[in-house]
């Protein structure tokens, strides 16, 4: 349907842009309705469908993963279409923008529903090309083109390992149809390898690298924050949908990752590095859109951490939740900037509050009580809710890692609440704990049922957790080490903040060096620029040597 819309816009390009935009929105709504119908049809039968064209390619595989992703993509695309009708009205190339948006929606839908390798590769490749033109929609802005190129080139880098993975799988299992391929992999997982490595480990590594590039994982992350040069609706679509393709890809090839535990460990490590770097860089930005860009990078890192511990369905749940909230934040970024121009957001001093506003002076809970609540409450909430819903789950290493991250997040929230100075700190704390309990219990129930929906084959789900596991002693050591690092970090941060002189803005040399490192984004983009300059210089040298013929 989005493809029909794009073709109709191209054919009717002489008509007023508003009419074409309305047509695009209407067909986008119809696509969303169709995706919803597909979901209900699946819930009725609970069996995946493989639709083939008979050409050997162009097939569609409608399983829980593709159906839920189609619904998400169609939904976000509809919101972005509606938003763009007015937002893009003054921009040149209004109809072209809608045609490209429709083509992009079609390509993403094709990707998530692809039933064979050729269709998957076509969609995978086309998304990069279309994103390039969407980001460079304003042809007059050199920066827009420059960053569109960064994105395109990183995506192309990611295309290549996926093609190689397809080649290796095709040459070994002699099929491009994904359902048949997964059956053959399950029947013969120990196929002859490449260069002494297991074939499925090599394939899993190639797929993981393709996913890293698509989802802005370190060191393929440099393009993501700079895509803000494109129109805001494109940023929303990209951060809410396109950038999630890596998580989708790993889920699609879950049967391969069952046989490649080593690669899952790599995915975990890369995800963790990306999550930490993305969060650090987010905190050092003074531009809201760029800050959101790095926030997406951090979230993508966290999604890969989930994949790395074997929680594949949780990663999809995460990308849906992230897609929805990040899309909302991007579309509301303009409003936030407008508000910031009117209100500075700086809290008043105690004296002002008491004398001028005639309100009681704000207070805090005793620190000992706050510390106890911070440590114990998230632990109890997360542990009990998961134990009640699925007691087996809590024993998995992956589950322990996720619960640990959940505990850190909950503790951070409560710690931040304690730092707020309010009229009634105990009431605020009770409300926050209640909210946290609702979120945690709700999340646990939804996630558990979502997992059953996504992976009705429980054995596959359990094998993924098993593949992601490491020796128990190593696991225990790592968890202890990370816990100590986090707790020491918290204490150090609290101590520094408590003893800081607010009038003294000086910082020592090591901190300045660290800040420089962050502000230059770890010099990764500079390294890439140097490499590309070297290749261009080599190209010129070759041409001079061969006299330009």
């Amino acid at each position: 349907m989005p493809m029909v819309s794009a073709l109709a816009i191209a054919a009717l390009s002489a008509r007023p842009g508003r009419q074409l935009a309305r047509l695009s929105v209407f067909l986008s709504g119809a696509t969303f309705a169709l995706a919803t119908l597909l979901l209900f049809a699946y819930l009725g039968t609970s069996s995946p469908t493989w639709l083939t064209t008979g050409l050997g390619w162009g097939s569609l595989y409608l399983d829980p993963l593709s159906i839920i992703m189609s619904l998400l993509v169609a939904g976000i695309s509809l919101v972005v279409h509606v938003y763009s009708v007015r937002y893009m009205a003054e921009e040149p190339g209004y109809a072209r923008f809608f045609a490209l948006l429709d083509l992009m929606t079609a390509a993403i839908l094709l990707l998530v529903a692809a039933g064979d390798f050729i269709t998957l590769l076509i969609a995978w490749h086309l998304i990069g090309v279309l994103l390039y033109f969407l980001l460079a929609h304003n042809t007059q802005r050199p920066a827009a083109h420059r960053y569109a190129f960064w994105t395109f080139f990183t995506y192309r880098l990611g295309d290549l390992p996926l093609v190689l993975a397809a080649v290796l799988l095709y040459q070994t299992y002699d099929t491009i149809a994904l359902p048949t391929l997964f059956e053959r992999i399950a029947a013969a997982p120990n196929a002859p390898g490449v260069l002494g490595f297991s074939l499925l480990e090599v394939v899993a590594l190639l797929i993981a690298v393709a996913a890293f590039a698509r989802s802005a994982q370190f060191p393929f992350h440099t393009w993501l924050p700079y895509t803000m040069e494109g129109p805001t609706p494109v940023s929303a679509l990209m951060h809410a949908g396109i950038v999630n393709a890596g998580g989708f890809l790993l889920n699609r090839f879950a049967p391969v990752f069952v046989e490649a535990g080593v690669v899952l460990h790599l995915v975990f490590a890369v995800g963790l590095i990306t999550a930490v770097l993305g969060s650090v860089l987010m905190l050092t930005q003074n531009d809201i859109k760029k800050s959101l860009g790095y926030s997406t990078m951090g979230q993508m890192g966290f999604m890969f951490v989930e994949l790395g511990v074997g929680a594949f369905s949780l990663a999809i749940y995460h990308l849906i939740a992230h897609g929805l909230f990040k899309g909302t934040m991007f579309l509301g970024a303009g409003g936030v900037i407008g508000d910031a121009r009117k209100h500075d957001g700086v809290p008043h001093e105690d004296v002002y509050t008491l004398v001028v506003e005639r309100k009681p002076v704000a207070a805090r809970l005793p620190w000992m009580l706050a510390a106890a609540i911070t440590v114990v409450v998230p632990f109890l909430l997360l542990g009990l809710s998961h134990w009640l819903v699925d007691s087996d789950f809590v024993g998995q290493q992956g589950a322990i890692v996720l619960l640990f991250f959940g505990w850190v997040t909950g503790a951070q929230l409560l710690f931040a609440t304690h730092r707020l100075r309010v009229e009634s700190p105990s009431r605020l704390m009770v409300l926050i704990i209640l909210s946290l309990a609702i979120v945690v219990v709700g999340y646990t129930l939804i996630e558990h049922n979502f997992d059953l929906f996504m992976y009705p084959d429980r054995e596959l789900s359990e094998r993924l957790y098993a593949a992601a596991s490491i020796p128990l002693a190593t696991f225990g050591g790592l968890v202890t080490l990370v816990t100590i690092a986090i707790v020491v970090g918290w204490i150090a941060a609290y101590y520094t903040m408590a003893n800081r002189d607010p009038l003294d803005g000086r910082t020592g040399n090591p901190r300045m060096a660290l800040y420089s490192l962050f502000s230059r984004e770890f010099y990764v983009a500079d390294v890439y620029s140097r490499v590309s300059e070297t290749v261009l210089a080599l190209s010129k040298r070759f041409n001079i040597w061969s006299r330009w013929v």
Binding site: L55, W57, I122, T139, H145, F152, I176, F542, S546, R547
Partner: protein, 247 residues
């Protein structure tokens, strides 16, 4: 062996590709360039077939190296016609891999045609620009998306076809080649493909993007636009047809 070397001149492999590119540089009429780009490889395949001998193993490596060499050279070329010539040289070198793999002669002719048509069309587009500005250099009159929107649209489509974007035939041809190759050769082909993409965006940046220079020139005529559009649509449909036979 002599016939194989003649084939290397016509289905150009470096350094025997140099006369091919020198000839393209000498020819001033875009129509003649188009004819050379389209006909020469077909003659090369005829010679290759008449040699009636298996292609020595080293030729495949030589062809891949030649394709990679011209792909890298593409990155610093600003003249659109020269760029098209280098791209044709890089792409046509890959035909040798098909020939070494035992592809039927008719298929070889079709593959060579599909790989040489987009560069040939680029020659025509370069001619159109040269008639208006005196030269077709990337960056000379950037921002043509505003000044020459129809020409820019055609350039974008032809460049996309030339760098083997789906669903143009080049994409399926490269995919076919990669699926047949062993993994080192497949990696080399993918490297060439990556560099084509980079070079393609550099060309688009130099001609289509950037601020408009506000030059007063006539855009491509509607009849020419219709001609290009029909040809590209047929080419695209052919790509979908080829896709059915990829695997």
């Amino acid at each position: 062996m002599l016939l194989l070397l003649i084939a290397c001149l016509l289905l150009p492999l470096f350094p025997l590709s140099m006369p091919f590119n020198a000839l393209l540089g000498r020819l001033k009429r875009p129509g003649l360039r188009l004819a050379v780009v389209l006909i020469t490889p077909q003659l090369g395949i005829l010679v290759l077939n008449s040699a009636a001998q298996p292609i020595p193993e080293g030729f495949t490596t030589w062809a891949l190296a030649s394709a990679a060499f011209y792909a890298i050279r593409l990155l610093s070329v600003r003249d659109l016609a020269m760029w098209a010539g280098f791209l044709a040289t890089s792409a046509l070198a890959l035909v040798w891999s098909f020939a070494a793999g035992g592809t039927a002669p008719v298929e070889l002719h079709l593959i060579a045609f599909a790989l040489s048509l987009p560069p040939a069309l680029l020659m025509l587009l370069a001619g159109t620009l040269t008639r208006r500005f005196g030269a077709a250099y990337a960056g000379l009159h950037g921002g043509l998306a505003r000044c020459l929107p129809k020409w820019s649209r055609l350039l974008i489509l032809v460049v996309l076809a030339a760098i083997a974007t789906p669903v143009f035939p080049g994409f399926f041809i490269l995919l076919d080649l990669v699926f047949r190759a062993d993994w080192p050769a497949a990696s080399a082909i993918l490297f060439v493909w990556l560099i084509w993409s980079w070079a393609g965006t550099r060309v688009l940046q130099g001609f289509v993007f950037e601020p408009c220079q506000r030059v007063e020139v006539r855009d491509v005529r509607p009849a020419a636009v219709a001609g290009y559009s029909i040809l590209l649509t047929l080419f695209l449909i052919a790509g979908l047809g080829i896709a059915g036979g990829v695997l």
